[in-house]
């Protein structure tokens, strides 16, 4: 397969003429495992959580059909900006990942990469029945059935697809959880990293990326 050209070991000539070998799997990524972020002093943590809950930046990637109901949220009618929620283009800038429905195995692989690249504290909102128990694709050979087995989910919103109001309520619920200090998905991921990785590797067959890429 040539699709992962940039991950193969190769010799490169730099503009100044120096020749060196690049092994992307070693050189581009840090193989450090994720770490549990212990809460700060209760008072400070409370302030942090308040701040976090009021600036939810969402990764603008529609992974499935539920993303159809996101544009109404970003536009005047439902206007999620007033709740402190806005869309961002890249994982590095975002703190909330909306998995908008079923995940094909091919997308799951990218979702894991994108999720791991996000800066903590990070949260996941899962939209629709398909993230809970497979939904109408429960018997499909190419979609996963239970999202929370592969990445930590903080809030599930049922519906097929959930209406914009339901998604907004999901944000409200997420805020509540953040303020209560219960939205600990990222820490859960770090704690049970091996379990998550094991599940991921069970379904992603050609595992040609680092175990953790951040």
């Amino acid at each position: 397969m040539t699709r992962m050209y940039d991950l193969k070991k190769r010799t490169v000539t730099a503009p100044d003429g120096e020749v060196f070998t690049v092994d992307p799997m070693k050189d581009y990524f840090c193989d450090k495992r994720p770490e549990v972020q212990a809460p700060a002093h209760p008072v400070i943590e409370k302030f942090f959580n308040w701040a976090r809950s009021n600036s939810l930046w969402v990764l603008g990637w529609g992974t499935g059909c539920g993303s159809m109901e996101l544009p109404p949220l970003t536009t005047p009618r439902f206007d999620m900006f007033r709740y402190g929620v806005q869309m961002r283009a890249t994982p590095r800038q975002s703190g909330v990942f909306i998995i908008s429905g079923y995940l094909a195995v091919k997308t799951l692989k990218r979702v894991i990469r994108a999720y791991e690249q996000m800066q903590g504290p990070k949260y996941i909102i899962a939209l629709g029945s398909c993230t809970i128990n497979g939904g109408m694709y429960y018997d499909s050979f190419n979609t996963i059935n239970r999202l929370d087995h592969y990445i930590p989910v903080d809030v599930h919103i049922t519906g097929c697809m959930p209406r914009p109001e339901a998604i907004l309520s999901g944000f409200v619920e997420l805020k509540k959880r953040i303020r209560a200090g219960k939205a600990e998905g990222a820490n859960d991921y770090a704690e049970r990293f091996d379990w998550y990785k094991g599940n991921q590797k069970k379904v992603i067959k050609g595992w040609d990326m680092p175990d953790y890429n951040w």
Binding site: V105, D139, N145, R146, K202, V203, I204, K205
Partner: protein, 177 residues
């Protein structure tokens, strides 16, 4: 539509002619004649639009059926040409030089049914799947539910009762039948 069929019949041996709608004609033709007839229909009869190339798995008869649906944009009618392939050694000549975009169809069919089209650009590349290592999934003998349960483990705790059996166990448990 009738004239076209008569014309084709003089040149090619067609079987299983099926016409239920005035503007849609189905027939089967031998594998060797397909490129010839497609070329003929496209260049001389004006069937310039390839609607789709599809395949059907007739597992019970151990054959694959390929269907080329071509359309005459001016006279506004379609011909669907069926070809039967042996399921064990399913290969077919590529038509990408007649319609360039047929390469995508052929790539898809190669991946999902395992029918090979030697020479078609990119036919061996992954199309929608990634690192698939089972039998081609659109084949009838691939059980998608079984695969899903084995691989993606559905949420447990579900149990259903058959109405008839349940009533029997409640109302007349002793009655063995």
């Amino acid at each position: 539509m009738k004239e076209i069929l008569e014309k084709i019949k003089t040149k090619y041996e067609v079987t299983d002619v099926l016409q239920k709608r005035a503007d849609l004609l189905f027939f089967t033709i031998d594998k060797k004649m397909v490129l010839d007839i497609l070329n003929y229909l496209k260049e001389l009869e004006g069937f310039t639009h390839l609607v789709m190339l599809s395949s059907v798995d007739w597992l019970e008869e151990n054959k694959f059926q390929l269907t080329y649906i071509i359309n005459h944009p001016i006279n506004k009618h379609d011909i669907a040409i069926r070809v039967d392939l042996n399921r064990d050694e399913a290969t077919m000549d590529s038509i990408h030089h007649i319609w360039i975009h047929a390469e995508t169809d052929q790539r898809e069919i190669k991946e999902l049914f395992g029918i090979d089209f030697p020479g078609s650009p990119g036919v061996d590349e992954d199309f929608v799947l990634e690192d698939w290592d089972e039998i081609p999934p659109m084949r009838r003998d691939f059980d998608t539910l079984e695969y899903s349960e084995r691989t993606f483990f559905p949420r447990d705790g579900r149990k259903t009762y058959d109405t008839k059996e349940y009533m029997k166990s409640k109302l007349y448990p002793d009655d063995k039948q």
